[in-house]
Structure formats: C-alpha cells, structure tokens
C-alpha cells in the first residue's frame, strides 16, 4: 500500500467514523425530541399517555372559553366534533385565537384528563400554518357538515 493510499484510507475511515457519530447523535436527538400529534378523539380513546408532551389540534368549542379574572389563565375545550378535551393555558394567546377557530396546542395530559398547554398556535395565515390545523379544521368541518345533514 503506497503512503498516498494509506493516507487516503485514514481520511476515509476518519470521515466514516465522524459521519457515523454525527448520525448517531442525530438519531438520538431525533428520537428524544419527537413530538407526536393526536386529535381529541385519539386522546379520548386513550392513545396519549399522561405526562408525555404532545401536540393536539382541533377547534375551540363555541362558548367554552372562560378566563380566570385578573390572571392570564384561560380554560377552554378543544374539539374535533366527536370528542372534547378540556384545556388549561396560562399565557398570551395568539391574535387569531377565538371560539370556533382551528388551533394547535402543545402540552401534557394530566391524570385527571385535563390538558395543560404551554403553547397555543392559531392560524395566522394559510401560508404560515402548520398542516395539522388545516387537517383538524377540515376534519372538523366535514364532521360539522355531516352533523348538520344528519340533523335536517
């Protein structure tokens, strides 16, 4: 083996090892920071584990928003027109948060079935919206239309 080849071999091995370490770290970080997405129905069916942080998308149920006077805590229910999950959130709500609006919440499920959100995202603009909101809204709207049809 010529010195040039040996050097190349060393470089290639070093690169492979480096990339392998990077890939390992990457996958580890990936697994640890994966956030699952659930709909209220899935949560109601027990798919989400209590204490685990996840995202949930749906509509803010009409007439469900209650504020605690003098604080930033707000209670509402998130619905996909099939099941509803009670949410507690303390903080600033996005400009487009309102009843009937499609939103995504980040947070954890308590043992008592309350979802404590640490982040609330509402549609800012169709181009800057997470796809889940659209999906949740569409799903919810279809359910709503189906419900209206069923009623009439």
């Amino acid at each position: 083996m010529t010195p040039t080849r040996r050097r190349r071999l060393v470089i290639v091995i070093a690169m492979v090892v480096g990339v392998a370490i990077a890939a390992g770290l990457g996958l580890q970080a990936f697994r640890n920071n994966l956030l699952y997405y659930f709909t209220p129905s899935q949560v109601a069916a027990g798919d989400a584990h209590a204490g685990q942080r996840f995202r949930m998308g749906g509509l803010v149920a009409m007439g469900s928003v209650r504020r605690t006077p003098g604080s930033m805590t707000v209670h509402f229910t998130l619905t996909d027109m099939k099941d509803s999950i009670p949410i507690t959130y303390t903080g600033i709500l996005p400009d487009l948060f309102r009843e009937g609006q499609g939103i995504v919440v980040y947070g954890t499920l308590e043992k008592n079935g309350q979802f404590v959100a640490d982040q609330v995202l509402a549609k800012h603009d169709s181009k800057y919206m997470p796809p889940e909101v659209t999906a949740a809204m569409q799903k919810a709207m279809q359910a709503q239309q189906a419900a209206v049809k069923g009623a009439s």
């Binding site: 504020r67 400009d95 800057y128 796809p131």
Partner: protein
C-alpha cells in the same frame, strides 16, 4: 389590454428561453459557432421580456387594476403605495414571477460578464440557465399565471395579507431570491464543466465570484428574515427552526461549504468532484427551499388538493433538474482525477475538508428534521414533528468543534502545515480568548451554564483568531516593513469576525435573555432586569387601512426615565390582527414589549423581553456580508484574463499558495 401584454411577454420569454437553452447546450456540443453566437442575444431577450412582465404586474398593482385576479386578491386602494409594490410578491404567483425576474437579472449579468470565458463554456452556462428558465416559465404559464383576469372586475381588492405589510417585505424576499437563484449560476457553471469534460482550477476561479455573490445575497436575505421574525410576535423570535427558515438555511450551509471548497479547487486543484457535487446540492436545496415555502407542500398539505397540478409539476421539475444533474455527475465526475498533489493530515486542505464535513452534516441534519415529518405525514404514517430542541441538540455539539477549527484553519499552510508554526501564531490568541471569556462571564454574573460559557469563549476565540492576521500585518506595516494583505484574506478574516459576533449574540440572547408574560392594569408596573415598566393604559389610533389600540409603557431605571414604548395591536380591514411589538433598541440590549390580549377593565396581558446583545446576531450577519464583499473585490477577479488564466492552469503549488496566504517571513 396591459395584463395580456404581460402574459404575451412571458410566452415570448419562454420561446427565447428554449432558443437560449438549445443553442447554448447543443451549439456547444457540436461546436456550432453560429448557434453559439445566438445564445447571448436570446438570453438577453429572454431576461428583458421577463422583466417586462414583472414591470407590467407592478403597474397593475400601482394602478389598482382589480380586473386582474391576483391584484384583486392581494391589494387594496387604501394600501400605501410602497406596499403595492411589495404586494407583487405577496402570494404564490407573483413570488414565482419575482423568482423568474431575478433569474433574468442573473442571466443578464452572466451574459454581460462572460465574454472573457471560452465561448463553448459560456454557451453551456447560459444554456443551463435557459433550461431553468424554461422550467419555471412553463410552471408559471400552466399553473400559476399572475395575469388571469377576474370577470367581472372587483370594485375593491382584498388587501395584502396584513402580516406582510412590513418594510421587511421590501428587502427579505428579493434578497433571499437573489441568493437562491444565484446558486443556479454556480449550478450552471458546474453542469457546464461536467458537460464540457473540463473541470479545473480555472473553472473554480470563474465560478468563485459568482458563488460568493449568491452567498452574499442569501446571507443578507436570511439576516433580514431573522430580524423581521424577531419583531413580529408569534413568529418565534430571531430563529425558531421553522421549516420555512430551515428551507433557506440548508442552501446557506451548503453554499458556505461550497465557497470554502471552491477555494481548495482554485488554489490546489483538489476536491474537484466534491465541489461540483456541492454546487449541484446547493442549487437543489435552493429549489427545494423555494418550493417548500411557495408551493405549500410543507406548510399546508392541502395546497396539493386545491391544485394538484402545481404540486406534481413542482416535484417533477425538482426531480428532473436534480436527477439529470446527478446522472451527469455520476457519468462525468470520475473523469476528473484530483491532481492536487496530495496533502498531509495537518494542512489547510484538511481543515477545509473538515469545514465542509461539518457544514454538510449540519445541512443533512436540518434536512432530516424538516423533511422526515413531512414524508411521514404525506404517507399517512402518523403525524409527528421535531421542534427546536432537536435542532439545538444537533447544532450545539456540531458547532463547538466547528468554531474551534475556524480559528485554526487560516493559520495552517497548504499541503503540509507545521504544528509549531500554527501554535506560535495562535498561542497568545487562545490565551487572550480564555482571559476575555473569563472576564465576560464574571462580569455578566451568568448562571454558569456550560453552553453559555462555551459560547462566549468560542466567540472570543473566533473573533480574536480572525483578527490576528490583519492585526499582525498592520503592526508590520506601521514598522515600515512591507506586508501586503490580500483582499481575499482580509475578507475571510472579516467574515469570520462576523461569525464570531453572531455566535456571541445567539448565545448571550438565548442564555441570558429574560421573557416575562404578565397582566398589567393601567398604572401598574413591573421591574425586569433593573428596568421598571409602568403601563399607562391604551388608546385608539388609526392607520391607512387599519384601526389599532396602542399601549403606553414608561420605562425608568433607578427613577430616571429611559424611554417610552408604544406597542400596538392592529385590526386590518381584511380580517386580520397583527401585534406590532415595540422595541427600544440599543447596541447592547433590546427592550421588547408586545400587547397580548385584553382581559377586561383596561387590563392586558403583556409580554416584556430583555434581550442582551441580540443586535450582535444581525450585526454579525452583516459583517459576514461585508467580508464576502471585500473578498469579491480581490484584484484577481477584476484582472482576470483568459491568457492569465491559461497560464494558471498549470499553476505550481508554490505559485498558487503564494496568491492566497502570502505568509510573512518567519
């Protein structure tokens, strides 16, 4: 009538682009001089007709021509006129037109400044650019025509999306597109070299300034984007690892790697195939970025549903460009053997190789985090997402060694470096960095988190090591010893200083910034980091196309007035609310106030942020741009002559090394 002229201009431009592409590529392949002579006029004509279409759409906006659907959907008579111009690229169709317009500008520049290149090579470059134009013009004419009429015409327009009614709109998208599209020139150079079967130091010298210019614009675009995102509440601050941000960051990372790899190819004739691959990758990621943001693939999956043709066209075009380029690469690249003469483990080449590996791995990690959730979602395998923690976990361990290497690399000689030599140059720099880092940490009385310390230390190390060379040259000059400093070396030093300042800003803002959300009633106050904020209530104000409530916050420090801040919440006629955060900007800290939600009885939830050194992030970005600009002014790019280049082809390592490093005697 006028809008139809715009459409006609696009059709003519498409015809000229076909001519440009055909005569360029086929003419060069056959060595057909008459065909090759037709390439430049076709390219110029194509660019001019695209520009005409762009001007016509702008005219339609300025004259409130609501018979054009795109204008009616994105403008309004009450919209201030500067926003009528920026509204041209405020939605899908127009931003695509901006893309093609920018491609036209680059094509004009290449047509103008490629006269000294061999005719075959210049023809191929313009031909490849023509092919890209064809793709985009076809896409535009078949699926996204901005000149479609609205019958009957609307009496009033819907107005521009309120979030886009911001001065940032005038700078951020055009600069970003200049960068994205500029990468197409680097791509065209690489493909032309692959087609011609010749890829050497000369090719690297031609393509380097173009790549650098594209990189400059991309850096400006991202920096302004970060600044814009910072002052809009709800966009997640200066950087949020949002897919839209990642879309621009990936080509930047690979473009940065390309700029460094081109240096090796130009100086040493090494890394040729790798450089070509990076050029292809940078442009592919630019395309991916444009499409992710603009097609709605990423942001809302239902964009496919509204017009399935768009999504399919986009994927097909992306696949065609990337696929063809990679096939060409696989076929031709093995022909180019690296005759760089080899290099030792401790050499400039090794450090630049490491630079490339780190940047490409970082880009791959961002790509994984951006695309994996998307692919999973598209295949209906479940909806997941990876947020900022994933990217933070990847980037911190990657960037720590990267920034250590940044300091060392420039002080290692080409081919075979010497550890003692490099050590002599950097020993006192390292000591100084440690000292300053320690002092800063003590002064800030920071929670001594490892990351904060590492960040400050690395920033000090990066800045001081980058300044070592220019400082030494200056010192020698003051002592009447001849010591020149090439512009490209100076540019590199300045750019590295910028990178160091950016790291400092990011670390300090992230680690020591304070964010408080609190309820304020009129008259109540709160102290954050020594500043007392007193809320004096809100009042109504009105703008040209919105109504707003404006809060008044008086800020005092130890009883002395500091500033008065007026954050607003605007309600636009086009059913949209925006929160205009108010910022008291200072060189070393920003005070940031945003109105949250009204809570009744005059009470508001309010976000107050104290952001130390946040300006350093964008200052660092602009200094990087300055560095790139200085490097661009290097005389070898201005005096470049075909004959001189031809001599350089066989440049000996000594000659090539002298040009860049010009190390002083030691």
């Amino acid at each position: 009538m006028i809008p139809e002229l715009g459409q006609l201009a696009l059709v003519i431009a498409l015809c000229l682009a076909v001519a440009q592409c055909f005569f360029g590529i086929v003419g060069a392949q056959r060595g057909h001089f008459i065909w090759m002579n037709a390439v430049r006029p076709a390219a110029v004509g194509q660019a001019l007709f695209v520009s005409l279409a762009f001007v016509i759409l702008t005219y339609s906006f300025l004259t409130n021509d609501f018979s054009v659907r795109y204008v009616a959907e994105n403008s309004n008579t009450a919209l201030p006129w500067p926003y009528k111009i920026t509204a041209v690229w405020g939605a899908h169709e127009g931003s695509l037109l901006l893309w093609i317009f920018v491609l036209g500008l680059w094509t004009l520049a290449v047509a103008r400044f490629s006269r000294r290149l061999p005719q075959e090579f210049a023809s191929r470059v313009l031909g490849v650019l023509g092919l890209i134009s064809i793709g985009f013009l076809l896409f535009m004419l078949t699926t996204s025509d901005p000149f479609t009429r609205l019958l009957p015409p609307a009496a009033q327009g819907r107005d521009l999306n309120p979030l886009l009614q911001d001065p940032g709109m005038a700078i951020h998208p055009p600069m970003l597109y200049m960068g994205y599209v500029g990468m197409s020139v680097a791509f065209a150079f690489a493909v032309a070299a692959l087609l011609g079967g010749r890829m050497d130091a000369v090719w690297a010298r031609w393509s380097r300034p173009w790549t650098l210019v594209a990189w400059l614009f991309l850096t400006i675009g991202i920096t302004f984007g970060s600044w814009w995102s910072y002052y809009v509440l709800g966009w997640g601050g200066f950087w949020f690892w949002d897919p839209v941000e990642n879309a621009s960051f990936m080509p930047w990372l690979v473009g940065t790697a390309l700029v460094h790899s081109l240096a090796v190819t130009e100086k040493r004739g090494a890394f040729k195939s790798w450089t070509a691959l990076l050029a292809i990758a940078a442009f592919s990621l630019s395309l991916l970025g444009t499409f992710l943001v603009r097609s709605g693939i990423l942001i809302s999956v239902h964009a496919f549903a509204t017009d399935p043709r768009r999504g399919i066209f986009i994927l097909a075009m992306l696949g065609a460009f990337v696929g063809l380029a990679l096939i060409l690469y696989a076929w031709r690249a093995p022909m180019f053997s690296d005759n760089g003469g080899g290099f030792k483990a401790f050499s400039r080449e090794t450090f630049l190789l490491l630079n490339n590996i780190f940047l490409v791995v970082a880009a791959a990690a961002v790509l994984l985090g951006t695309l994996y959730p998307l692919v999973l979602g598209a295949l209906k395998l479940g909806q997941i997402s990876v947020g900022p923690p994933y990217f933070d976990h990847i980037f911190v361990p990657l960037m720590i060694p990267f920034f250590i290497l940044i300091g060392i690399g420039p002080y290692v000689r080409w081919k075979h470096g010497s550890v003692p030599h490099t050590g002599r140059k950097l020993g006192w720099v390292a000591a100084l960095a440690l000292l300053v880092g320690a002092v800063v940490i003590v002064l800030l009385r920071a929670e001594t988190s490892f990351i904060a310390m590492a960040g400050v230390l690395l920033a000090a190390w990066t800045v001081f090591s980058a300044l070592q060379e220019p400082a030494q040259r200056l010192w020698q000059r003051l002592h009447h010893r001849h010591a020149g400093l090439g512009r490209s070396v100076l540019g590199m030093s300045v750019a590295h200083v910028g990178a160091g300042l950016m790291i400092l800003g990011v670390t300090v803002t992230t680690m020591l910034g304070i964010t408080v959300d609190r309820v304020f009633t009129p008259g109540s106050s709160l102290t954050v980091h020594g500043d007392q904020y007193t809320f004096e209530g809100v009042r109504d104000v009105s703008g040209p196309n919105y109504q707003a409530v404006q809060g008044t916050f008086v800020v005092t420090r130890n009883g002395r007035p500091v500033t008065v801040i007026y954050p607003q919440k605007r309600q636009f006629r086009r059913d949209g609310t925006t929160t205009e955060a108010a910022i008291d900007a200072g060189p070393f800290r920003d005070l940031y106030i945003a109105l949250g939600n009204p809570l009744g009885h005059g009470a508001w939830s309010v976000r107050i942020e104290y952001k130390p050194l946040v300006r350093f992030i964008w200052l660092g970005g602009l200094i990087m741009v300055l560095g790139g600009f200085i490097a661009l002014m290097d005389k070898r790019y201005r005096r470049v002559r075909v004959k001189a280049i031809a001599l350089d082809v066989a440049a000996t390592p000594e000659e090539a090394g002298r040009d860049l490093t010009r190390e002083p005697e030691h």
